[in-house]
Symmetry: C2
Subunit: 353 residues, 2 copies
């Protein structure tokens, strides 16, 4: 491998091994200009066959890797796809993330995560910061941005995808499903199974949870036309957990002893409710129905198995990234709104036997 002298950065007093291999190095190696090498890498069809191959070889032997900072500065466009989600730990979002990372992996793009911690003002600040990086794309959870956030997203010079929900007017693109419909269907399932007094259990009531809550209410209202359905509901702002599901279940039975089924805002709560029911000596299914939301893997493995509403979280991440990439490639990115649906999965926990 031939080493060429090179002007050093003022601060580079030493001839450290870490010296960067630049486009210029590759260009010199093949006797072309930097811009041609740049093109060979980004728009190969613009460079003649022979040169292109020699450049590829030189890139390989020299171990050239582009500097994303320089690329971003010169092209006014970074390779970062910003992703704003309210929680990193939440199973729901970690599945979405897995889909995102899988789809973005292998491309020249990078995911940059922003944790909004369920707070609109944090989201607003993060949008501002992300936008200052001239991102390649932006993916944000939910459709309930502040007006300021919406304005920034609308003006953004990159594809924007809102995910996890459905809505009337997406800022740009939208991938999700109707939480309301899904919850309504789940509640209708409980009623159809013969449960007379279903209750709602909710924790961390974010906008999506609220919509599920609304779906629950709608189903109940439809079932008792006189509108006299009592509100058996227990919600809290605490973060959701299995333990909390148990606590809420016990409290619910205390307050509404007639309860014979629970629709839980998410699977953690449902699992906790099931454990609590078992502790109380109740037969889950025959004596108390339990339905979760999201259909985490554990639901199908629990004993008894737990009914839930399957949501396509991984697919949400994949689709969102694909839409961004398609738009960047100038292709049609498909319809602005993609409904990923949901699917009720009835299991033993709502089987009255």
């Amino acid at each position: 491998m031939i080493v060429f002298p090179m002007p050093k950065h003022p601060s580079d007093k030493t001839g450290k091994p870490g010296r960067r291999v630049t486009l210029a190095d590759v260009a010199r190696e093949v006797g072309a200009s930097t811009i041609t090498v740049s093109r060979a890498l980004r728009r190969p069809e613009m460079v003649s066959e022979g040169l292109r191959q020699r450049i590829a070889a030189a890139v390989e032997t020299l171990g050239y890797l582009p500097d994303p900072a320089a690329q971003a500065l010169a092209s006014r466009r970074s390779n970062v796809i910003g992703v704003l989600i309210p929680s990193v730990t939440n199973n729901v979002f970690s599945d979405v993330l897995a889909g995102l990372y899988d789809t973005v992996g292998g491309t020249a793009f990078n995911v940059q995560l922003g944790n909004t911690r369920y707070r609109a003002e944090v989201e607003e600040e993060l949008i501002r910061i992300f936008l200052s990086q001239r991102p390649a794309g932006l993916i944000v959870a939910g459709i309930d941005q502040t007006p300021a956030s919406r304005a920034m997203l609308a003006q953004a010079e990159c594809p924007v995808v809102q995910i996890m929900e459905l809505g009337e007017d997406p800022v740009d693109m939208l991938v999700g499903f109707s939480h309301r419909d899904a919850a309504q269907a789940a509640t209708e399932h409980l009623l159809a199974q013969g449960y007379r007094a279903p209750a709602f259990l909710g924790a961390r009531m974010d906008p999506r949870s609220e919509r599920r809550h609304a779906g629950f209410r709608a189903a109940l209202a439809a079932a008792s036309p006189e509108g006299a359905a009592p509100a058996r509901e227990l919600t809290t702002t605490e973060p959701s957990s299995v333990r909390l599901g148990g606590v809420l279940f016990d409290r619910l039975r205390e307050r509404f002893p007639e309860t014979d089924a629970v629709f839980c805002n998410n699977d953690d709560l449902a699992l906790g409710a099931q454990f609590a029911a078992q502790r109380a000596g109740l037969k889950v299914g025959p004596e108390v129905g339990i339905c979760g939301f999201n259909d985490l893997e554990v639901m199908s493995a629990a004993h008894p198995t737990i009914t839930s509403v399957r949501t396509f979280r991984r697919e949400t991440g994949e689709t969102a990234v694909r839409k961004v990439l398609a738009r960047l490639a100038g292709e049609e990115a498909g319809p602005d709104v993609t409904d990923l649906q949901w699917k009720l999965i009835p299991r033993s926990s709502t089987d009255r036997g």
Copy 2:
């Protein structure tokens, strides 16, 4: 707000609203040079009180945000802390991530995630790519990098933290605990509780799982000095899941009917094993002991509650970032190796009553 004319980028044919506010804009506003504004932002103590305040005010009114790409290019150092983990979904890592994001949030740094998918060659490639971004720091899971990876990490001009394990010679810094010791203690607990024939259940046997496996064996070997302890073990390379825990448990009982306790490689398997035991009509605790690993939240909420080894995952992420930040700030980053320990949490699932 005063708007100054400014030379446009060649490609900026329109006077779009999105025109960037630069250091130069702020400098003009306060009548100082760009470099002074830059200093006021990065090393406030070098700029006089009055100027500093006027600059701060101008930054505020103009809405100036630094361009990370330009900063990275000029300073030869990006604000990215690279993080390499084998899985995004795995609960274990998502807790670590939560710790990372929490600690890095609010600083000027950004986390960039790389998913190695449990593959050393992918890790190697990602290290190469990350390094080409001149990261502010690098955090990698495990201590089993390939020689090439190790070499790159050793030469990296940034703090490097290996996490999740303990080891003899960290590349730079290390935060973790001894999987072997923890597993050995868990196995000893089973024996101390009076279980005679404990088995090992493992899935996705990565290096950490192997070390736990070794700990299990060591405990058994110590308990039967003649060395005649039969190997009741069932492992698979499949990714771990609750369902798989059940499958393995059933298979285990078929193959080694005398088994009266299982040490599971992780909590998902343990939970699945418990469900399977219950399905088989076994009383968990008295008839079969179950012990997990990691102590996910669900373990303390399950019915019966499940014994596990608590590991400090969130703290791992926090500590790793703090070490990077301390090093970058020029402070002592503490000892090179931080042992975060582990803690056995005995619960009903290993209580023979």
